[in-house]
Symmetry: C2
Subunit: 405 residues, 2 copies
């Protein structure tokens, strides 16, 4: 029995309900059916409106007002970016190097252009020295007049095999020039000390003897290469080789040479000598020359280890010497192509040296040092240019001790 | 009038004096004369004694007990040094350089000897890299095993023309090796970045084509020279060229090679390849050779700008290849003289490079790069030695991308 005890039973309940007929009549009345229909419409409308509103809110905030299935891939990506934590599979996470023992240099941006000053291109001036104490004050006087910005210039010297006070005078002159009082200081200066063992004495006769020439040129070449190796830094765009015994040169020489945009370029080198009060304008540098068939034929017959030295009866080369050409009163920018060059004054694009072109301390195609340098550069495809009318004045050396030659 | 007014005058004074005669008698008395004589003797004696004493004091304190006129020159100098302010005319006063922009290096004490470790000689390990990311972990594993003291070793790399993550992997591996946790850190590491522009593609066929060889070797030579120029410092005694794709080499290789005391020395380079489970011990490096008359005759007919490349039908050189000689089971110290060398593994005395011997990026006696390096070194009088029984194992490259070749 489910009902309360002794209480309601089916019969009693049935007696209390309205008669089934009355309910039927009520449910089928038109007014009731209309109410139901109206309520249904209201509910359906409400549901429709509220769903749209929800969707609009959802999609307007985080993306286009479209359901995901209608979105483009880009829209989906936009939308997802706001809905979930982004996961980026980065196979190129930066490597952070913290060790101070690891350095990096990028040589790719180093250029040698005609807009050197604007591009702040750095210049390295290299000078080998041997028993050159007496020339250094003049050397630094001329150097301090150079118009190329001094803070873009580094100086480097090789001091070797000197019996005089070259090192002390150099240090004193550098200290004077670098204190910035008289002249704008240079960016830096480096002194490299290295003795190679002098081959011969330094008297005029000994220096001029033919037998002494090749060993002397080879030692000079080694000295230049040691200096280059120690001083050339990744930041340099140009290398300017300048001997200590120049007595006069234009202040704008660096800019003038850079403007030519050549791999290797040299001026003409002359000297003043007064006879009866007249300047004979002596020609100094017979190492800058244009190759001749005669010399090539001569070289082909020589042993590969023989070095041809200009100006000796042993070798009649028939070459064309730039020293005998030109005139400083004429167009300074006139160029000639050279096959051998002297070392008094050379401006080189640093990448020529970095590519391995240097001063042979051996017989390179029967030439050594600066002449071998020109031969090597030409073999490697670089241009070697001389300016016959652009004159740098060397001291009138009756072979007094001077450069490391 | 000098006297006081109305006071004393000569007459009054005279009257007060004793009579002249009385004075005379007193002065000529024997007793008085004796007293005077005695006093004179005493004074003279005293003066003599005191002068001697003074002299003695003077000369005993500051010099020999002699008067100046009897001194030797040295004794006078000693004596004068104490008597007066010394004046030294020093024409060699030290030059004190205070500018921080002036640096000095002395290359004279840099030596390359067989007592390298005892002398703390510094070694520079140079590795050119191109698309070498996959080889670097192995490379550094081998490097960290080197028994030469790591604090005497500097590392330098040239990364260029790479399409893979060589730079990133290199940086990560260096950071790992330099933190000093797994292995003893090296003294320093330098990464040089420089692109030369790849000449050819890197497929086996393209790399092997004859026409591509000479330009490839020239670019490789430039890369080596750029790396050398940027990395070689004045303190280095030895330069060790080591390619990235070595898979096995002795831990004592540096010590072993240094013990030979040669200017330039290379091992034999072989590779492991297994056929039917047997190691055929392949021969890798055909760039290490002894020159032949046939090749010299061939070269004399070639244009000076032509580069001979080994292993092509274009050039039948008839040279003797070290790769085909030797056996790693026999005496490792056996030497042969070579005329051309490969670049996988070279140990060079640093002064050879400083003297200007590098990797020709042009036709040097019809050779380029490492073979030209050997030719150049021999021309300059250096010795080039190979160890046919000392084997370094290269990876078995069916010309997969590897070094900057």
């Amino acid at each position: 029995m489910l009902g309360p005890k002794g209480g309601m039973n089916w019969k009693a309940t049935k007696a209390q309900l309205p008669p089934a007929r009355a309910i039927w009549v009520f449910l089928t009345r038109t007014r009731f059916l209309l109410c139901v229909a109206l309520a249904g419409v209201v509910v359906l409308l409400w549901r429709g409106i509220s769903t749209s509103a929800q969707e609009m809110q959802r999609y307007y905030c985080w993306g286009p007002s479209k359901p995901p299935m209608q979105m483009t891939l880009n829209e989906q990506a936009d939308w997802n970016a706001h809905l979930q934590t982004p996961v980026i599979f980065n196979h190129h996470e930066p490597v952070v190097v913290n060790s101070t023992t690891i350095k990096s240099v990028d040589l790719n941006p180093i250029r040698s252009t005609t807009k050197a000053i604007a591009n702040k291109e750095r210049i390295l001036i290299l000078t080998p020295l041997r028993d050159a104490a007496s020339y250094l004050p003049k050397y630094f006087d001329l150097l301090s007049l150079l118009s190329y910005p001094h803070d873009l210039i580094d100086l480097a010297f090789l001091v070797g095999d000197s019996s005089d006070d070259t090192l002390a005078v150099l240090a004193a002159e550098l200290d004077r020039i670098q204190d910035g009082k008289e002249t704008e200081a240079f960016n830096s200066a480096l002194i490299v000390q290295k003795d190679f063992g002098a081959v011969s004495g330094q008297t005029v006769e000994e220096r001029h003897a033919y037998a002494a020439q090749a060993p002397r040129r080879k030692i000079m070449a080694r000295a230049r290469n040691y200096l280059l190796s120690a001083a050339l830094k990744p930041e340099h765009s140009w290398v300017y080789w300048r001997d200590a015994d120049i007595v006069d040169s234009p202040e704008k020489i660096i800019e003038d040479f850079i403007a030519h945009d050549r791999d290797i370029i040299v001026p003409n080198v002359w000297f003043h000598r007064y006879r009866d009060g007249v300047d004979i304008e002596g020609r100094f540098d017979y190492n800058s020359w244009i190759e001749s068939d005669k010399a090539l034929k001569l070289a082909s017959k020589l042993d590969k280890d023989t070095v041809i030295v200009e100006g000796y009866k042993e070798f009649d080369t028939g070459r064309t010497y730039m020293a005998l050409m030109g005139n400083w009163r004429e167009n300074k920018d006139e160029e000639v192509k050279l096959d051998g060059i002297g070392g008094v004054n050379i401006i080189v694009k640093a990448d020529v040296h970095r590519s391995g072109i240097n001063f042979p301390a051996y017989a390179f195609e029967n030439q050594a040092e600066t002449e071998g340098f020109a031969k090597m550069a030409k073999r490697a495809g670089y241009e070697v240019i001389g300016l016959p009318n652009y004159v740098v004045w060397h001291m009138d050396t009756e072979e007094k001790p001077g450069n490391n030659v």
